[in-house]
Symmetry: C2
Subunit: 315 residues, 2 copies
């Protein structure tokens, strides 16, 4: 293949960048701050300058770079148009067009969770599988569906937005999206902390979690590993919500593999256990062989996915 | 484009066949019985003979035929392997390979609901849209997802098997698939009849449905049109089940359009009303613009989809 590719993952506070060979080897990765002031007008010029600097210091001619793939925290449709990215201060504009002009190379844009899913499908935990679903369990829940090396973008760039699948009619507290009862409200890091709070308030059952001022998802799974019964109950509720939702997704997508990523996934195989049990119970038999794996690229998934978009020339 | 293509839709009692021009014009359609005895061993030879006969009588040389697409009632994976089709008596075998040999032309196989979805996306209610989800509300619920003119097949051929999305933890009666609480148990023709039975048994509220010995889905929607309050309640339950499920699917796929097909869809726009109301309430905002349409090709969707597979040379 030869040449180089650049992957960029734009977050609300930092931009992660990676320089890759055409074969997908990560040569160098670095970060710059995300300047969100004035509608985020500096973000793309800052990235352009940082790429130029890195290429100069690496002695690489821009002509040798196939392109750049960039993931942003918001929907990006198949025409490369960002449809609002609140955390960056961005409204509607053609990201691919503008960045291609500024960077002086072909730029492909995508939603950050989708791009991370592509990274895992390319060089991470889903490598070698044709169809994968990635679920990022962080502050919220992101998702991405990859079929034959391509992101399932959706019509308005909201393909794989599985965090906002409705799972609870009784919910009265709104999700960040405005709806009530999204899976994100129960199975994200924030959601698990909430399940923990609710369970601990329910009665006085002894639990090591009671000694902790603000129980986090990590605390819950640490306590599960230590055999804490209340923590296990909380994890069971989480597993029921997420397992049922993933079973529904598998009925639609029929994937080889489901990748669990994000901060919560650091709990590892114990997490898979709670999810897979409920998944297997309710999934259609033809999808019962779906494998569960923990993401392996960590915070680098986004830059890998970006590079892969550039190498394949796909949005 | 020139040339011809053949679409075949294999059902449990009849096989529908269509001869198309390369541009997708239906020249002739006909049917033969499905002979399911002896493990369905006659089905493919019968189709081969019928195609030969039709080509001879039409004065078309087999060399002018690009190929044949065939939909069957069971999962067909992306390698063209049927993974059991109970209604035909078929077990595992390579449908594409065997039929290609028997028919003397390239054959592409697919699940019948998926192939019908492709037909609607090509020449029916979803024509002109890049991404569509079709839901076939018949005795059971079938489904298909079409992205850029291709069937989302899934790893074991169960892509779009949305009838088996789990929607009710309280269910004790098993679905045909063996699980309990699949959407098919509430929103198919059979499911709606069941919702009607349950509602009528609940109390003595007056309803025109009480005069009918075995209430069907059609009876329910006819009574809804006449303003029957009990029938409206039944339709509301149906709409809640299906609307919520389609909202979840739209969070994953983010389609342009959802096509409602099958016998139940003959109720028309009134059906869409009950579904869309619940869909809109719970779907992620980026998918709120998803359009709902009633399928327009009726029983011909399968032969259209088959021909389209052959013309595009896609499985």
């Amino acid at each position: 293949m030869g040449g180089y590719a650049i992957g960029v993952d734009v977050g609300g506070t930092t931009v992660k960048l990676g320089l890759f060979t055409g074969e997908g080897e990560l040569i160098s990765k670095w970060e710059i701050p995300t300047r969100t002031e004035n509608g985020g007008e500096n973000i793309l010029p800052d990235i352009a300058a940082s790429i130029d600097e890195k290429l100069a210091e690496s002695g690489i001619d821009k002509k040798e770079v196939m392109g750049c793939g960039i993931g942003v925290p918001g929907p990006v449709d198949s025409a490369g148009v960002v449809r609002r990215a609140v955390n960056l201060g961005w409204d509607f504009f053609n990201l691919e067009e503008k960045a291609t002009q500024l960077f002086g190379m072909h730029v492909y844009g995508g939603n950050d969770a989708n791009v991370a899913a592509l990274g895992e499908a390319w060089k991470g935990a889903a490598a070698g599988y044709s169809t994968s679903v990635m679920v990022t369990l962080g502050t919220g829940i992101g998702g991405g569906v990859i079929i034959n090396g391509r992101i399932m973008t959706g019509v308005t760039g909201a393909g794989g937005e599985i965090g906002h699948i409705h799972v609870n009619d009784e919910e009265t507290i709104p999700c960040n999206c405005g709806n009530c009862g999204c899976i994100e409200q129960y199975a994200s890091a924030t959601g698990i902390a909430r399940l923990a709070r609710e369970r601990l308030e329910k009665n006085d059952d002894a639990s090591s979690l009671r000694g902790i001022e603000e129980v986090t998802a990590k605390d819950v799974f640490d306590a599960v590993k230590a055999g804490d019964k209340v923590a296990i109950e909380i994890a069971e509720r989480f597993g029921k919500y997420l397992g049922d939702t993933l079973a529904a997704i598998a009925c639609v997508i029929n994937p080889d593999v489901i990748v669990l990523g994000g901060g919560v996934s650091k709990a590892g195989d114990i997490l898979i256990g709670f999810v897979e049990k409920n998944f297997t119970k309710n999934v259609f038999h033809a999808s019962r062989g779906t494998k569960f794996v923990i993401a392996s690229l960590g915070n680098d998934a986004g830059i890998y996915g970006g590079a892969r978009m550039a190498i394949n020339g796909i949005g």
